[in-house]
């Protein structure tokens, strides 16, 4: 009898397990043990929390994840759930790789603006975290040089920032007053430097139509930004495009640079080096408000998914505060909601990285949410490198505008 009961129980378990529909999920974090462990914990909790769905995770290295997704989309092999870098999402949605999310009403109400991926009026993706950039500085250095410590309410103006750089350079204590991070090519350029342009009043594209960069990237404000940008290198205030990658990594900690434009992912190492002396300052206000980039990796549902309700159920499960906090704890990134930040040691009130939540909340502007972003990001990167290397500012910006506009035209306006 006992054997029979055992057999029946096993059969029941097997039947229940068999009834669960498998959902495939691709993630960009291969090689990152902290992210993997946290994601696996969320998946396990989700799998155990209901009997309809079971997630099957496949991880890819971040550096080549996008290429893997595009190849899978071409061959019709996309999984149910994908993760996508925020600025790339509109391109994938427009290309037909993704479908809009279908989450409960109010599920995203408290999220940081950069953690919600919206395109064409619909939410396609949501992130468990965001990243933020700050001006890394040392209180002792600023005070010794008589430089005001800026706040979110009263950030440095262009004149103040410029004067601070001149003063720091003239002190002779540093190789360069300011390290914007020229050695980090690729997405770093539009992510980190387009906010400077936007703060000057320009942009990578005219956001009222998303059909042209004319006026936005080569207008008066953009020209003022370009001239200032070039002057940083002409005046030897910042290392140029030939900056050694090693110096970018350790230059601020080694005392070669007085100020460094860097992300919250580098904050803990800098805190280790400088402790209480370290400051994470807001972006300077170049005339149009202090701005930093926003939007990091986010979860979405593939257009080809045959089980979108299961995929949405997982995403809604994953964006609970406890998991946002767990991810933040594991990676050091900013939890996507205030309530989740409050339960993390780093971002809670009085935590060493608390300031980054406010910086993200108050200053962030997402990169242009258009499918054409992937092309304009490359054009923008090249233009900024060329200007830094002494190219004529107006000509370079005009050429960049032509290239971006030609791409938009070739793609019939990307649906705008």
């Amino acid at each position: 009898m006992k054997k029979l009961l055992g057999l029946l129980t096993a059969l029941l378990i097997f039947t229940v397990a068999g009834a669960q529909t498998e959902l495939s999920m691709w993630y960009h974090g291969a090689g990152n043990a902290a992210e993997r462990d946290t994601l696996l914990m969320i998946i396990e909790d989700f799998n155990n929390s209901q009997s309809d769905w079971v997630i099957n995770l496949e991880e890819f290295p971040q550096e080549s994840y996008n290429e893997s997704i595009v190849a899978a989309a071409l061959s019709g092999n996309l999984p149910d759930i994908i993760d996508v870098d925020g600025p790339v999402m509109p391109n994938w949605a427009w290309s037909g790789y993704m479908q809009p999310l279908n989450l409960s009403e109010g599920a995203l109400d408290d999220f940081l603006p950069g953690a919600v991926g919206v395109w064409n009026g619909e939410v396609y993706s949501v992130g468990l975290w965001d990243a933020a950039i700050a001006m890394f500085a040392r209180r002792s250095v600023l005070e010794a040089n008589g430089i005001r410590i800026p706040t979110l309410e009263q950030p440095w103006t262009l004149e103040e920032f410029d004067a601070a750089l001149e003063t720091l350079q003239a002190s002779g204590e540093f190789e360069f007053a300011f390290d914007p991070g020229m050695a980090w090519t690729g997405e770093w350029y539009p992510y980190a430097f387009s906010p400077f342009l936007q703060s000057f009043g320009g942009d990578m594209i005219d956001r009222s139509t998303f059909l042209t960069a004319e006026g936005a990237l080569n207008g008066e404000e953009a020209l003022a930004f370009g001239n200032w940008w070039q002057s940083l290198f002409e005046r030897d205030l910042a290392p140029g495009t030939s900056q050694d990658g090693a110096d970018r990594e350790t230059g601020f900690i080694d005392g070669k640079y007085a100020l460094q434009w860097n992300g919250n992912w580098a904050a803990l190492a800098a805190l280790d080096a400088y402790g209480d002396d370290l400051l994470f300052l807001p972006a300077p206000d170049f005339g149009n408000g202090p701005i930093i980039g926003a939007a990091s990796w986010q979860f979405g549902v593939a257009a080809s998914s045959e089980n979108p309700e299961g995929a949405n159920a997982f995403i809604e499960f994953a964006i609970q505060d406890e998991y946002l906090a767990a991810f933040s704890q594991a990676t050091g990134l900013i939890p996507a909601t205030q309530s989740a930040a409050a339960i993390t040691p780093n971002y809670a009130a009085g935590g060493p990285l608390e300031v980054f939540f406010e910086l993200s909340n108050e200053q962030s502007l997402i990169r242009p949410p258009t499918p054409g972003y992937v092309v304009m990001a490359l054009v923008f990167e090249k233009a900024l490198a060329d200007i830094a290397n002494g190219a004529d500012v107006q000509d370079t910006l005009d050429a960049a505008v032509d290239e971006i506009n030609a791409d938009i035209e070739n793609n019939n306006g990307y649906g705008f």
């Binding site: 090689g31 990152n32 496949e58 290295p61 290429e67």
Partner: protein, 294 residues
């Protein structure tokens, strides 16, 4: 007598100068490898700081095997190496056989249109792989396969998709054709007179005397296959089938783990060195005799 001494001294100086130059050139080639191995034992911060001085090439400072331990924890390195070695070994083995047969056909046999066919094959050398990657992806996605699970459609996420499209290659066919063409025709004619079939001539006459070209083709194909990146990136969707070059990407995180990267590179360089050293003599012989360089 004095003139002879001067000549001798000049000769010796010439030798010294030549060796000094060769050693200098040798050092230029060996320095990156020394840097890689030495750096693999250093923590990240020290590694980056040392790059600005000669310390970069010296095992000084905080030396440990931590990077190796952490590299093995971060990625399934054993699986990646097995995949690469397996894919490469099968591709090289089958490639040598099929491409040498093709070369034999072009060089020895007479058949109509062979000059045109050979020209077309060689012309494919100028087509970059990137241009055919997507059409190839679409083709292999619809090809049938019969394996342990019976008939399936699509080759994605498998070993065969990383091997079969690369077995035949124009460079190998060209190398074999050239080598076989340069062999004395009398050998083949003698074998024919003795009643040998074409297969016997290939197998018993040509292959035994063609070690150098086999070694050259093997090394070139080995390097091409072992360094494959774009194709496996597109077709190997699960970790189970990923090769070493895709595995390298595991180490490029927000904060790049440079020490672990150096450890990983040191580990994956070992199979290449073993393979090259095993075939070095034949490879050099081939270069010396045919002038064909890798």
């Amino acid at each position: 007598m004095q003139a002879k001494n001067v000549r001798g001294r000049n000769y010796r100086l010439g030798i010294y100068a030549r060796y000094a130059t060769l050693i200098l050139i040798g050092l230029i080639f060996i320095f990156p490898i020394v840097f890689m191995i030495v750096s693999s034992f250093k923590p990240d911060l020290q590694l980056l700081r040392d790059t600005s001085s000669l310390r970069a090439f010296l095992p000084v400072g905080d030396i440990s095997v931590d990077n190796y331990i952490e590299a093995f924890e971060r990625a399934p390195i054993g699986r990646f190496i097995f995949n690469s070695v397996f894919i490469t070994a099968v591709s090289v083995g089958l490639g040598l056989f099929l491409n040498s047969l093709a070369g034999f056909s072009f060089a020895v046999l007479e058949w109509p249109g062979k000059t045109i066919v050979l020209a077309v094959i060689i012309a494919t050398l100028i087509i970059p792989f990137e241009t055919i990657a997507i059409p190839l992806l679409l083709i292999v996605n619809f090809l049938p396969w019969f394996g342990l699970e019976g008939f399936t459609q699509g080759w994605l996420d498998s070993y065969q998709v990383q091997i079969i499209p690369f077995i035949a290659d124009a460079l190998s066919v060209f190398l074999f054709t050239q080598f076989f063409r340069d062999l004395p025709k009398e050998i083949i004619e003698a074998a024919r007179i003795d009643g040998a079939s074409w297969w016997q001539i290939y197998q018993r006459v040509l292959v035994p005397i063609s070690g150098p070209v086999f070694a050259t083709a093997a090394i070139l194909k080995f390097l091409a296959m072992y360094n494959q990146f774009l194709w496996p990136l597109m077709v190997a969707q699960s970790e189970e089938f990923r090769p070493v070059m895709v595995g390298l990407q595991y180490f490029f995180q927000l904060n790049v783990a440079w020490g672990e990267i150096m450890a990983y590179l040191t580990i994956i360089t070992v199979p290449v060195l073993i393979f090259y050293l095993a075939l070095q003599r034949a490879f050099i012989e081939s270069i010396a005799s045919s002038g064909v360089k890798g």
